[in-house]
C-alpha cells in the first residue's frame, strides 16, 4: 500500500485529498507546512509527495527543492492556486525546481487521481481516474 505525504496549510484541502487517496487504498500522512513535511519525510517511508506552494513558514517551492536534493527519486506533485491571481505562474517555477507534475487549484478528483496514477504506475487506481 503506497504512502502519500500531503503538505498543505489548508485543513480542508488536506481532508479532501485524504478522502480521495484513502479510497484508492493509499496511506496518507499530513503536514501543515514544508518544515513539518520534511520532518515526516525523514521519519517515514513515503512514495509520493503532494505539496502546496503557498504556505506560511516554509513555502512549497523551497520544500520541493530540498526533497529533490535529498531524495532525487521521490515523486512530487505541486498544487497551487485558490483564487490567487498569479499562483499558476508559480506552478511553472515549481516544475523547473523539480516537481514531476503540477496541478492548479481548484482541481477535480479525477484530475488528481490521474496524476497520482502517473506517479505510481504500479498501484491500481480506480478505472474512471486512470489517464486516457
Amino acid at each position: 500500500m503506497p504512502t502519500v505525504l500531503v503538505i498543505d496549510d489548508e485543513d480542508m484541502v488536506r481532508l479532501v485529498l485524504r478522502q480521495f487517496l484513502e479510497r484508492q487504498s493509499m496511506t496518507v500522512i499530513e503536514a501543515q507546512d514544508g518544515e513539518e513535511g520534511l520532518r515526516l519525510l525523514r521519519a517515514s517511508t513515503v512514495d509520493l509527495v503532494i505539496c502546496d506552494l503557498i504556505m506560511p513558514r516554509a513555502d512549497g517551492i523551497g520544500t520541493i527543492m530540498q526533497i529533490r536534493r535529498s531524495m532525487p527519486g521521490m515523486k512530487i506533485i505541486a498544487i497551487s492556486g485558490g483564487g490567487r491571481s498569479h499562483a499558476m505562474e508559480l506552478l511553472k517555477v515549481a516544475e523547473q525546481m523539480g516537481a514531476d507534475h503540477v496541478l492548479g487549484k481548484p482541481f477535480t478528483r479525477d484530475q488528481l487521481l490521474a496524476m497520482v496514477a502517473r506517479c505510481l504506475p504500479n498501484h491500481s487506481i480506480a478505472r474512471s481516474a486512470r489517464p486516457g
Binding site: 496549510d9 514544508g34 506552494l53 503557498i54 504556505m55 506560511p56 513558514r57 516554509a58 513555502d59 512549497g60 517551492i61 523551497g62 527543492m65 530540498q66 536534493r69 497551487s80 483564487g83 490567487r84 491571481s85 498569479h86 499562483a87 505562474e89 508559480l90 517555477v93 523547473q96 525546481m97
Partner: protein
C-alpha cells in the same frame, strides 16, 4: 454665537469659587502624574489670565472653529479627524507664545487666550493658523469661508463673540503693510506684535538638534520586479540610527520629527542626494530607477512644496525617467481632487508615483484616476504571523488592482512570503529576503526564482 458647551467651559474658568469637580484634572480622567501637573498648570494659567477684566476688552480670547474644513472633507472627516487635531495642535503651539494658552473645546474647535497680544495681532495669528491648517488639508481653501471669533464681552456668564473672515484679516494686514513706507517695511521700527509673534516661529522651528538630524540617513533597498524577474529599482528609505547601534527605517525613522519644516528638510536633502548619486551612476553607464520618499507635509504646505519643486525642476531631463516618487504619511481619506493636485505637481519630474499605505486598508477607489502609479506597503511579520500576512497581501493587491494601481510590498523576510506576494499578484517586492539595503543603489540585476531559492539553499 458661542455654543453652550463651550460657554459652560469658559464660564467655569471665570468663576474662581467654582467647585473643583469642573476642573479638567478632577474629571475622573486617569492620567499620568505629569499630565495632571500639566493640566493644573494650564488651569492656573487660564484662571490667572481670565481673572484680568481687561482681557475681554482687549480681545485676547479667540475661538477657531474648523466646521468649514469638516464640511469640505465630507465623509473623510472621520478618518482625518485625529490628523486634523494633531496638525492643529502643532501649528497652534508653534504660532503662540509661551504665556499664551490654547485648548481644544470641541470637535474641530479651539480656544486660544493670548497673554499680551493686541486684538488685531491675536486675530492675525489665528488667521495664519487657520490658513496653514486649511492649506495642509485642502490645498487652496476659500479664506473668506474661514472665520476667527474674538470674545468681546460676557453676558450672564456666557461669552459674546465677534467674527471676521480669515480673508479679511489677512487682506487688512496687506493693506497696512502697503500703506507703510518702503523704508519702514525694509526694517523700520514698530513691527506689529502679530508679525513679531509669527516671526518668532523661526526660532521655534529648530527643535531637532543637529545631532539628532545627523542620525537620520538614507539607505537604498532593492525592489524585485517579480513579473520581469529583475531588480531595476532601488527604494531610498530614511533610516534612523540609535546610539546603541540599532536602527529603524521607513516611516518609523521619521516619527521622531514633528516639525513639517524638518520633514521638508529631510525630504529635500534626500532628493538632492539621490539625484546626485543617480547622475553619477548614470554617467558610469548604470541604468536603474530610484524611488525617493516625500512626505505629505512637504507637498501640502505651499512654502516647502515650492522649495521641493525647485529641486525637482533642476533634475536633468535624462534622469527623470529613472526617478520614482514615493509619498509618505499621506492620511487615508485625502480628497481625490487634492490627491490629483499633489500627484500632478511631481509627475513631470518622474517616471512613477507610488504612495505608502497601510496593508489592511481595503479600498483605494478614491485614488483611482489621480495619476498615482501604485501603492507601497510595509509588512511586519514573524513566522507566527505569516499566514495572516499572506491573507492581508491578497486583499491589499486585489484592492489595488481594482483601482488600477501597481503594488510594491516591502518587508519580505522569507521565501514563503515572497512566493505568497507573487501569488497575490504584487508587482514589486522588497525586504531582506530579496536584498539588504545598502549605502548606495547597485546596478540592475536579473534575478529569477531559481536565484532566490538557490541563494536560500546556500545559506
Amino acid at each position: 454665537m458661542l455654543g453652550l458647551s463651550l460657554g459652560e467651559k469658559l464660564r467655569n474658568w471665570f468663576v474662581e469659587e467654582e467647585p473643583a469637580a469642573t476642573s479638567p484634572s478632577a474629571r475622573g480622567v486617569v492620567t499620568h502624574d505629569a499630565d495632571i501637573e500639566r493640566m493644573r498648570d494650564l488651569e492656573r494659567r487660564l484662571k490667572a489670565l481670565l481673572s484680568q477684566p481687561q482681557l475681554l476688552s482687549a480681545g485676547r480670547i479667540h475661538m477657531l472653529n474648523f466646521d468649514s474644513l469638516r464640511a469640505s472633507l465630507g465623509s473623510s472627516w472621520d478618518e482625518l479627524r485625529d490628523r486634523v487635531h494633531s496638525s492643529a495642535d502643532r501649528i497652534i503651539s508653534r504660532q503662540i507664545g509661551d504665556k499664551d494658552v490654547q485648548f481644544r473645546s470641541g470637535d474641530g474647535e479651539y480656544i486660544i487666550v493670548f497673554a499680551t497680544l493686541s486684538r488685531a495681532a491675536a486675530s492675525l495669528v489665528c488667521a495664519k493658523i487657520a490658513e496653514e491648517l486649511y492649506r495642509l488639508f485642502l490645498g487652496d481653501p476659500k479664506l473668506a469661508d474661514i472665520t476667527v471669533s474674538t470674545a468681546v464681552g460676557a453676558v450672564d456668564g456666557k461669552l459674546m463673540f465677534e467674527h471676521a473672515s480669515v480673508a479679511d484679516l489677512l487682506s487688512a494686514v496687506e493693506q497696512t503693510v502697503e500703506t507703510r513706507g518702503p523704508a519702514e517695511r525694509a526694517g523700520g521700527p514698530a513691527a506689529p506684535p502679530a508679525s513679531a509673534a509669527i516671526g518668532a516661529e523661526e526660532a521655534r522651528r529648530l527643535k531637532l538638534s543637529q545631532l539628532e538630524m545627523a542620525q537620520i540617513g538614507t539607505m537604498y533597498r532593492p525592489l524585485w520586479d517579480v513579473g520581469r524577474q529583475v531588480i531595476s529599482t532601488y527604494m531610498c528609505t530614511p533610516v534612523r540610527r540609535f546610539p546603541d547601534g540599532t536602527s529603524v527605517e521607513g516611516m518609523m525613522a521619521l516619527s521622531a520629527i514633528t516639525e513639517p519644516q524638518q520633514l521638508a528638510k529631510v525630504d529635500i536633502d534626500t532628493l538632492a542626494d539621490t539625484v546626485e548619486i543617480l547622475d553619477e551612476l548614470f554617467r558610469n553607464k548604470f541604468r536603474l530607477m530610484v524611488s525617493v520618499p516625500v512626505c505629505f507635509e512637504t507637498l501640502a504646505a505651499r512654502r516647502s512644496r515650492q522649495e521641493y519643486l525647485a529641486i525637482c525642476q533642476s533634475v536633468p531631463d535624462y534622469l527623470r525617467p529613472f526617478l520614482v516618487f514615493e509619498f509618505l504619511r499621506f492620511p487615508a481619506g485625502v480628497p481625490n481632487g487634492r490627491m490629483s493636485e499633489l500627484v500632478n505637481e511631481v509627475r513631470p519630474f518622474c517616471r512613477w508615483t507610488f504612495m505608502r499605505v497601510e496593508c489592511r486598508q481595503q479600498s483605494f477607489a478614491s485614488l483611482s484616476g489621480t495619476g498615482l502609479t501604485g501603492l507601497t506597503t510595509m509588512i511586519a511579520s514573524d513566522r507566527g504571523t505569516e499566514a495572516r500576512i499572506m491573507e492581508d497581501m491578497n486583499s491589499f493587491v486585489a484592492a489595488a488592482e481594482r483601482a488600477s494601481l501597481k503594488t510594491c510590498i516591502v518587508g519580505i523576510t522569507s521565501t514563503s512570503l515572497a512566493v505568497a506576494a507573487r501569488a497575490a499578484g504584487a508587482t514589486l517586492i522588497a525586504g531582506d529576503r530579496i536584498g539588504r539595503a545598502g549605502e548606495i543603489p547597485q546596478h540592475m540585476l536579473r534575478f529569477g526564482w531559481q536565484d532566490l531559492f538557490l541563494r536560500e539553499a546556500v545559506r
